[in-house]
Amino acid sequence: MAHVNAKPLGGKILTPSVILMLFVAGAGIYFLFVRYIYGIGAVSNLSNYMPWGIWKVINVIVGAALVCGGYACAFTVYLFNQGHYHRYVRPALLISLLGYSFAGFSLFYDVGRYWGLFNFLIPKYWQGNSVLFEVGLCVMTYIGVLSLEIAPAIIEKFSHVEGRLRVVLDKLYAFLDRFLFLIISLGILLPTMHQSGLGGLAVVMGQKISPLWQSPLISLHHLISCMAMGYGCVIVTEMLVSHDYKETQHMEILSQLAKVMFMIMFVFLVLRMSEVLRSGAMALAFKGNLDSISFWTEMLLMVGGLWCVRNDQVRMKPNNIFLGSCLIMAAGSLYRLNVYIIGFHPVPGVTYFPSVPELSISLGMVCLQLIFFIMIIKTFPIIAKERR
C-alpha cells in the first residue's frame, strides 16, 4: 500500500485560467515595483495605528495556515501510521513548500528594511524573547525541510538520466529515504512551533486586540485550527486535481480525512467558545458593530463547515466534504483576520481597509503561487493516478 504511483499530469500549461491568473499576477508585480521605488506608504493604506495589513495577515499568517496540508499529512501518515493516506502527501507537501516560500517572499515586500531579514541569521541580533524571531527562524528552517521532503519527486523526474549523475541521484535518493524519519519529524515539530507562534504573536499586543479573540490560549487556538485547515486543504486539492474520488474506495479514504478535520475543528470550536465565555467577552458579540458581525460570521462558517461533514453518511457525498472543507478553511482564515485586523483596536475609531494596489499585490502573489503549482504538477510526478 505505501507505494504510491505518482505521475506528471501532463497537458497544456497555458490554459485560459492560467492566462487570466498571469494578468492578475502581472498587475501585482507592477505595484511591487512601485512599492520598492516609492515605499510602502505609496501603495498601501497602512498607517502608524494599523501597521500590519493584508500583506502580513493574509499572505503570511493566513497563507501559512491554509497550506498546512504538508503538516497535517505528515502527522497522519507517519505518526499514526495511516499509510492509505500516503497518496495525499506529495501534493500537500508541494502546496506547503510553495505556500511557505511565498509567505517568506511576502515578508520581503511587507517589511520596510528587507535586507535586515538576514539579521535573523546573525547571532548578535538574535532575540530569544521575541515570538516573531522564533517564528521567522522556524519558517526558514521549515522551507528547507519541505524541500528535502519533496526532493524525491524531483529526483524521480530525472529517472531516465544515465552515467555519473544517475549514481549521484540514486545515492541522494537512498540517503533521503534512509533519513526520512528525521526529516519527517522535523516536518512535524517545526510547524507545531511556528503555527502556534503565529498566534503567540498576538499575546504581546495585549488589550489592543478585542477580548473576543485575545486570550492566553491564542497560540493553541491557532495551532488547532491550522490542522483542520490543513486537512481541508488536502481534501480540496485532491478533489480539484484528480477524479479518483468518484470511486467509492477513494471516497472512503477522503471521508475519513474529513472526519479527522471535523473532530479537530470541533475541538477548536469548543475551545474558542469556552474561552470567550470564560473571559466574559460574550457581551461584545452583541454590540452590533463590525467586531460582533465578524465574530458571528466566523462562528457561522465554522458551524456550517462542521455541519457539512457531521456524520459518516453525509461525508460520503463529494459535494459535502468539498463544501465543508472550504467553509472550514474560510472560518480559520477569517479567525486570523479577526485577530490581527478586524479585532485590532490600537485606539478607538481607527479603521483600515486595504488599497487597490495593496490588494493587487496580495492577489497577484496568490495567483503566481497557483500558476507555479499547476506548472509543477503537470511536469513532475506529484499526483497519484490509478487506473486511468
Partner: protein, 297 residues
Amino acid sequence: MKTTNRRQFFKRMALAGVGVMAAPLLSAKSAVAMKLRPRHDEDVGMLYDATKCIGCRSCEVACKKANGMPFEYDPQGIWDAPIDLSDKTLTIVKLYTGDQEQSFIKRQCMHCVDPACVSGCPTSALIKQDNGVVTWNIDACVGCRYCQMGCPFNIPKYEFDAQYGRIRKCEMCANNGLLDKGQTACSNACPTGAIAFGIQQDLIKTAKSRIRKNPGTYFQDKIYGELDSGGTGVLYMAGVPFDKLGLPDLPEYSSARISEGIQHTIYQNMVAPIVIYIGLAIAAFRNIRKSHKKTEE
C-alpha cells in the same frame, strides 16, 4: 483489523491532543506567577506634571531641534503644527477639554520598565539600556513594525513615505548626546518645571511629596506609570482622569510578561522541543519501517 487500526488512530490522536492542550494551560499560569521586572536604581526617566504645564510647547520645539526632526506645517505653511506623534514628531503637547475640566498632556515614548516593543523586536533593534532608556538601532531593524503592534501606547512610528523607512521614537536624548550630559532637550526647555528629568526612584518620591502637599489636586492621587503596564520610566501626574488624556487603563503587568512567560515555559533550554523531536523521530522511524515491511509482504 481495519477497525482496530482506526480506533487506535483516534485514540492516539486524542492523547496527542490532550498533551498539546495541557502545555499552554500550564504555561499561562506560570506566566502570571512569573516575577515582574523590577525598576532599577540607576534607571533614568522623566516626570510630567500636567497641572504645571502651560502648553507653551517649548519642549516640542527643543525636541525637534535636538533631534533634527522635520517640521509638519499647518495648511498655510507657516507654523510647525503636528496634530499627533508621527515619524516627524517625537513629542507633542495636546490639550484635552472636558465639560468642567481642561488639561494639557505631553506625549512621548514611556520608556517602559518592561517594554513590549523590546520584547517583540525580532532582531534586537530596540534595546532597553542599562540606564532604563529604550533605544533603537538602525542596522538591526527589519522594518517589520511588530514594535508598533506591541506597544500599548502606540509610540513607535514608521516612515511609511520613505523608500527605506525607519522607526522613529523618543530615545530620551540618548541618540543626540544630551543624555550623556545628564539632560534631555524637553526638560531643559520647560519654563515651568512641568517636566523633570532624573532617576526614576527619585522622581516617584518627588511626585509622592507633591501629592502629599497638594491634597485634592491630583486625579486619584495617582502617579500614572508607577505600576501601569508593569511600570514606565516616564511618569505622569494630572488633575483629570488619565484615560481622557490618552493614557489607557492597563493592568499592572506588561503584556511582555505573559508573552515571554509562555515562550520561556515552552522553550526553556529547548528541552521540550528536543524531547518531542526524539519522540517524533522514533514514532516516524517505526511507522516507516512497518509500512516498508507490509509492502514487502
